[in-house]
Assembly symmetry: C2
């Protein structure tokens, strides 16, 4: 039975939840297929995550391997394939709680970086799981800066082998997933040396464990890097190489080859390498970043509709905490952000698909823009969604802090997305570099990529809003965001030039501008997000109330961004103080409007209870029963293991020395 406090929230929905779900999925067929996958996965007890919050790192790892193996069977049974339309739903249904994800990266590396002959040899082996692959790039002392990697691969013409070494402790490979305990092979990135000359970083296939008994191969030291904030199910590993010999054929050689006599040959364009990183950054947004935020919103908003605490009106029942303005101000902007980023993800996916087609025709012109956008959006979205999950956790008070709420695990996992696949600050500075370059080009009248043409149309001006309702006009706020982005990019470009002209060296000048460059890159991404949200809303069907509620969310997302960062909009007087008061008024009004549809808006994300895995967020809102039943199953619910040895002697005053 559904908690009446939650049921009542659903009766007053202003729109069709099912239609919104279909919109988010991209069509009726997609919704049907997703639900079929979820059903197949969740009805299979091997994939259960029921005990997850009680398990040790070892148990989590073992379960992930079991699921990884079982998934192969399941896919065979169901007729699902790695490239089929179901795959993304499988991952979402499993909440990523499965081993061998790096095996896929191993295969992709070979497909992209390997010669046809290498692909023909290794891909079938990997597909049939005659080996388990990993991907060893990051070192203990080296992450961001690939050129700094210290692992070496020295070519020996005599034996036609490469000899691999991690010459110092900081050169040790560190972090690769699936490598600590599972993988038999890995792609090692190392500095290539031929006849004493260094040719830079290249990828090599290295076997690390025996296919017979899983023992470590000669010269290999490998193991697990130990406990982390999350990802207990993954055996992130370390790898030391001591004079490990591999055949010449194991250097992945689509782009570079070492001939038997030691001649180094570079072939084809390496630009495609950049493109791989771009693809990875965009692809992680949906599964690793948006889904957790959507789950956190679902949990926190459903909980806030059934949790009653304190009184809003004297003499009445205690109020739902969702009715407090401060609670709305915490949660509803996160909900709006989840939708905003869902739509920008669609935009990025489309751009990426276009990029694919162009690259396929050997046209690499889109790559700089794609790289800049994927870097900036990866940083901005991971940062905002991580902060959003934390807000949701804290908004649930003590119960949010219990692992059983699901929120701590969502937080500790999404946090990693700010670090992996490019640390966010570094990525934002890459976006900033692109923006500064484009700004200079635009200022000089040269053509620039589509997403930055707005930089050419710099105009001073003032915000034309005259009352608080004007701030519900997408033109008004989109223009304001654009203005701020242009101002921050142009003023930082000017500072950079001033510093250089004053005699400061270019790299020092750049470093002295980086705090502001990061701000400029963020402003650019926020502008694009707001603009895209507004454009998406405009294109929606007007029926079923969906356009209306999406318009409210778009307004909220935009106004929340202004309200939380008023200085950027006030700085040069584009927005006046009284206009800012209008923004505040409109923003606070919107909270009360969206609050009415808050539960239907999270219902539309369509998470099952098993997928949420949360005592606070279940569809029926029976929070307290859930918490109590669940806690009773905890392995800590047994007689105190400290009783006989410590508590009893203490209480009976028989501790020797007391």
């Amino acid at each position: 039975s559904v908690n009446p406090d939650l049921a009542s929230e659903r009766q007053t929905a202003s729109f069709s939840v099912e239609k919104l779900t279909v919109l988010l999925d991209g069509g009726v067929e997609q919704t049907r297929r997703r639900r079929a996958v979820v059903e197949a996965i969740e009805s299979d007890p091997v994939f259960s995550r029921e005990n997850q919050y009680f398990q040790t790192q070892n148990e989590r790892y073992e379960a992930a391997v079991r699921k990884g193996v079982h998934l192969q069977k399941k896919m065979h049974e169901m007729g699902w394939t790695e490239n089929g339309p179901e795959y993304k739903y499988i991952y979402r249904a499993l909440s990523g709680d499965v081993a061998f994800l790096l095996h896929r990266v191993f295969m992709r590396s070979i497909s992209v970086l390997g010669s046809d002959k290498q692909i023909a040899k290794w891909i079938p082996l990997a597909t049939q799981h005659k080996l388990i692959g990993s991907y060893a790039q990051t070192e203990l002392g080296h992450g961001t800066y690939l050129q700094g990697l210290e692992t070496t691969a020295v070519f020996d013409t005599a034996t036609q082998e490469f000899i691999l070494n991690t010459p110092k402790i900081s050169a040790m490979k560190w972090w690769p997933g699936d490598m600590g305990r599972s993988a038999t092979h890995t792609v090692v990135f190392a500095q290539l040396y031929i006849h004493g000359k260094c040719y830079g970083i290249h990828p090599f296939i290295v076997q690390i464990r025996s296919l017979q008994d899983h023992s470590l191969c000669p010269g290999i030291t490998a193991g697990d890097i130990g406990p982390k904030m999350n990802f207990e199910h993954i055996d992130n590993g370390y790898l030391l190489l001591k004079n490990v010999h591999i055949p010449r054929e194991n250097m992945l050689s689509k782009f570079c080859e070492v001939r038997p006599d030691g001649t180094y040959v570079r072939q084809g364009s390496q630009k495609i390498n950049y493109f791989t990183m771009t693809t990875v950054r965009i692809s992680l947004i949906s599964d690793e970043v948006l889904t957790p935020l959507m789950k956190a919103c679902t949990i926190a908003i459903r909980y806030s509709a059934v949790r009653r605490q304190s009184k809003l009106k004297p003499g009445e029942q205690e109020a739902k905490i969702l009715d407090y303005q401060t609670q709305q101000e915490k949660l509803l902007p996160q909900l709006a952000a989840a939708y905003a980023f869902h739509f920008i993800n669609d935009y990025l996916q489309e751009l990426l698909n276009r990029g694919y087609r162009e690259v396929h025709r050997k046209n690499f012109d889109m790559l700089p823009e794609l790289h800049a956008l994927s870097s900036g959006f990866k940083a901005v979205i991971t940062q905002c969604c991580t902060a959003g999950v934390e807000v949701c956790l804290r908004a649930c008070g003590g119960h949010g802090y219990s692992l059983l709420s699901g929120l701590p695990s969502l937080y500790t996992k999404i946090l990693a997305s700010c670090i992996y696949e490019g640390e966010n600050t570094i990525l934002l500075l890459q976006t900033a570099r692109f923006l500064i370059k484009c700004f200079m080009a635009a200022s000089a009248g040269q053509p620039v990529p589509p997403s930055v043409t707005y930089l050419a149309a710099v105009k001073p001006g003032k915000c034309p809003a005259r009352n608080k309702l004007d701030f519900l006009s997408p033109d008004i706020y989109t223009e304001a965001y654009q203005h701020v982005a242009v101002r921050l990019i142009s003023s930082t470009a000017a500072k950079l030039q001033d510093l250089i002209q004053s005699g400061i060296k270019k790299h020092d000048a750049w470093n002295q501008c980086t705090v502001q460059l990061v701000q400029a890159a963020k402003a650019h991404c926020h502008y694009i997000t707001v603009k895209n949200f507004a454009e998406t809303v405009e294109k929606l069907e007007t029926k079923a109330g969906i356009q209306k509620i999406m318009k409210h969310l778009c307004d909220l997302f935009a106004l929340h961004g202004i309200f939380s960062n008023t200085g950027a909009f006030l700085h040069d007087g584009y927005t006046s103080a009284s206009q800012m008061d209008m923004v505040t008024a409109s923003y606070l009004d919107l909270l009360a409007v969206i609050r009415k549809d808050a539960v239907p808006l999270v219902d539309a994300f369509d998470f099952t209870d098993k997928n949420l895995n949360s005592a606070l967020g279940s569809y029926d809102g029976q929070v307290y029963q859930r918490l109590y039943e669940w806690a009773q199953k905890s392995p800590t619910n047994q007689m105190s293991p400290a009783y006989e040895r410590y508590l009893k002697p203490l209480l009976h005053n028989t501790l020797s020395k007391l």
Copy 2:
């Protein structure tokens, strides 16, 4: 041997680290005593936290009990007492990783709320550990709003007993520490009923487990609430009461008594109850909030001095990440905040001591101000320090995400401080209520408490700064902070009045202002913090370079606050856009200045390696060796437990169905 990259940072310190340590401790004698305690604790293997990051919840709990018991012996041996000067150092040296903290709360409750007779009976029993106490206030459905508690205590004149019940699942006690598995007794807060009439919440001593064999007493259901984001060492518990009979004498009756015939007698002032909460909120700041931030700063800054990544100048060695402006902008404001809050903590302690003396003389006039300040500062400091620890964690990239860095545990633990002892938003609204009241009083020419007299002196004015150096003047920035606080308080007071005058009911009007009231309360606390930091710096000795570096930190703290919240200062034109550019310039300049002393400034916190318990933060900076050695000890470093059952059949293609 110290990593040369770290050693070089220490050679150029602009001040005496030892002198700064002594300043932080409050005197030479305190430093000596603290170090003696640390030495005694850390040389005792029972208190080791070496394996903490590898332990399960059960193991952590058992270790905490072992340490709790051992601590009794140790204190006896060393001649330390609970009220002695060593006690606070003991807790810090143990990093709070010890059981029976609620036993102390149990004792304090009895001392404060019990009659002399009750104190005489229970305190000796507790002191001698003939029982283990806990404190059961929070319920599954009730935290913040005490009046809403649902547990009942019905007085039965026939038997002269109270009969206690948790009549619904939401009435179950939930969260009390030490109660899940250890405690034999607890103080239960329940609605008192006599002859069918409810007299509100009262405290009752209830035995929950047998002193003989630790089995649960009749009518008691109790256990552990399961896994949490941290605090694995504490057995936070649940408690169901079903017709539990306790004697009339077990109601703590300093303030209220139930006579044998059922007559209810209220005696003395209950104002003192408020004071207890105030005391707890202030006392948690140092150990639970400042220490973690100081540790996080120590870890992140030492690591940033030895981590080299990417190049600042082409052709040179990779740069220390501490040399990047963006890294400085992440870490140095957190360091400044640690110092700012250390000094405001001194201020609050002094105020509290004065409060104690006044209350002792039955003068309760200071209580409202103390309550408002302790609430607001508890919220602001826990919030800023939690955010600060997270910044430190993320600033260390992947290695910060390893539990071995120590940072994840610091974060997941400090996060709880935003929730316990009053949820932060609720607390800020209490401060706001006080501020609005004082503002109205001050506007009407009535006297107000010392910390808010500035509200009486509202003047419009403009910031007089003319160049970026002017913003290094404490008068300039303190005035700016004061101006913002007054503006936010007065404008919210005006909005509130307008709403009420427009016919909106008082409680609705209040709810519609809460987002802005929270901002106003924060602005008040920030102003007091900046003012207090500036005044503290002024009073410091000018020798040994300490005043100079503290002045830099004070400037940084103040300017960072403006830089991160420019809108508040720009809004009414108090600060102009060009002045804001001066703030930015001064702020960024300061980063480079303080960066030079960053390592000495964290060295002054004087944490031992054992106390930091971090592979990244050790005094010698041998980060990579430490991570590798430590990871090798992880229980995950054994042959894959999934090999025989899953990996081998997969690799050998002998899985039945594949």
